[in-house]
Structures are given as structure tokens and as C-alpha cells.
Amino acid sequence: MKIKVFVTPKKNVLDPQGVAVGHALESLGLKGLKGTRVGKVIELELEGADTPQLRVQLDKLCRDLLSNPVIEDYHYEIAAG
């Protein structure tokens, strides 16, 4: 199965990278831009099945390592195959 973990800066945390990218998008002619946030995607390939226990483990790994809960939010998608 394939797991995609999305990590984004928390809404109320300043995202200097997002602000800079937003300015660049506007300078390239994008109109009406209301916000830009830059995060990261972490792709995992894993053997086994999507179980509640796996999700408990994934949540812990996301909180402990893949994101920093002080400044970031995360969510993940699990796809078969």
C-alpha cells in the first residue's frame, strides 16, 4: 500500500516561505491570490493492510517525527497497491 503524508505549517504560524512564493506567483501575473502555504509530502510504501492499529502507529510517527506539532499540521492518505 502507498501512504502519502502531507505536512503543512499551522494556519496561525508565520510561513515565510509561503509568503515569498506567493509574491513570486503574483509577480508572474496570478490575480486574486489569498494565501500560499508551503509544506511537504512524504511518500511511504508499506507491506501489509490498512488497520486501525496501523493508523494509531502512523499518527504517533507523524506527531513524533514527520511533523512538529508546535508549528505544523499533518494528514495522510492511504491507497492500496
Partner: protein, 227 residues
Amino acid sequence: MNIAVLQFPGSNCDQDAFHLFASGLGVPTRYVWHKDTHLGDPSLVVVPGGFSYGDYLRCGAIARFSPVMGAVREYAERGGLVLGICNGFQILCEAGLLPGALIRNSSLEYRCMTCDLAVEEAGPAFNTRLVGKRVRMPIGHGEGNFRIDDAGLERLESNHQVLLRYVDNPNGSLSSIAGIRNEEGNVFGMMPHPDRAFERFHPSQDGLAIARAVLALRFPEILKESA
């Protein structure tokens, strides 16, 4: 008295930190490798600057899980003194040994310069009487922008946990915070480099007062030796 300086793959201020304590203060100092699980009863653990594990994922995120950090956590929980400088500060925040987090500088630039810092009244050993009202130390970082939620910031301020503030904020840190301690007062972290401020050819020798202030809480004799 003996000082343990940690070494991670990618640490690059480990030797500077070593010499601050070994040459600057004349205290026996040794390195502890990131794979070691024992610290060997140090008086102070220094988590040095650099780019541990390439700063992959987030600065300090991977170092936090290295074997030696388990020993540092136990040592800190027993009340042992810990000082994190630059990347070391980031590692201590990631490890939850200090509150808050350090994100990309608001300018998006790596800032390498010497900063004036206001010393705060942050306890019986770290205060303006022992350190001076102002110190000058170099910084060199791209992720030194200190962030914490409102309640956390209020706790830092009301508990007098802020050690140093930038006079001219170089990175966008909340309340110009350059360094903090934990609530218990045994874990210290700062972005400026006392390890680049003690030799005659450095921009200042204020790093010595910082190093003494961190040690003085448990080892007040360090103040007499240097007087």
C-alpha cells in the same frame, strides 16, 4: 567538573564548543559520539551547532532520535545541566526539552553576523549582574525564527525563562527571543554562538560570561576561578 560535547554527523561547531570550555574556561572537556548511550557523569552536556543529519525533514528532527539523546533526556530529567547552541537549540526544542520551535528566518536569508543581545533576568546564575546588561555574539543560521503559541510565550515571560533578546531582530523571532531556558532552569538553548566569542580574534569574549552563567547554577566556584 567535566564537560561533554555531543557530536552528530553534520555537527560543525563541536570543536568550537570544545575549545570554549577547554581553552576558554580551562575545564576538562570531552566529546560524546551520537551513538553512545552513556554520557559518563558530566557536569554539563553541550549540544553544539551545525547541521545534524543534514537538517533533513526539519532542523534537529532526526538528531532528536539518536541514541545519545535518550541519555541526554534522562540526564536532563534528573536535573543535569544542558546547553544547546544554534542547531543544538533546535535539537532541544524538537526533543521537547525546551518549549517552542525554530522556523525559517522571516527574511528567508541565512543570517551570518554579530548581534547585540540584551541579557534578561533569567535566574540566580543567568542575569545582568553576572553576565552584563548587553553582550555581543555571532549568529549564523537560516532557521532561527523562534515560534511558540500565545500561552507558551506568556509562560516563558512570566517564568523569566528568556535568557537573551536581539536588540535588532535578525530573523523574525517572537519577542526578539534569542535564547531561553526550561522552567526548571537546567536546560538552556540559544541561537547566538558563545563558542564563537571567546578568543582574542573573535568579535567579543562575551561567550565566556555565558558559559560561566550556565555552569554557575550548579558550580558557583566557576565564578571565583575566573574573577
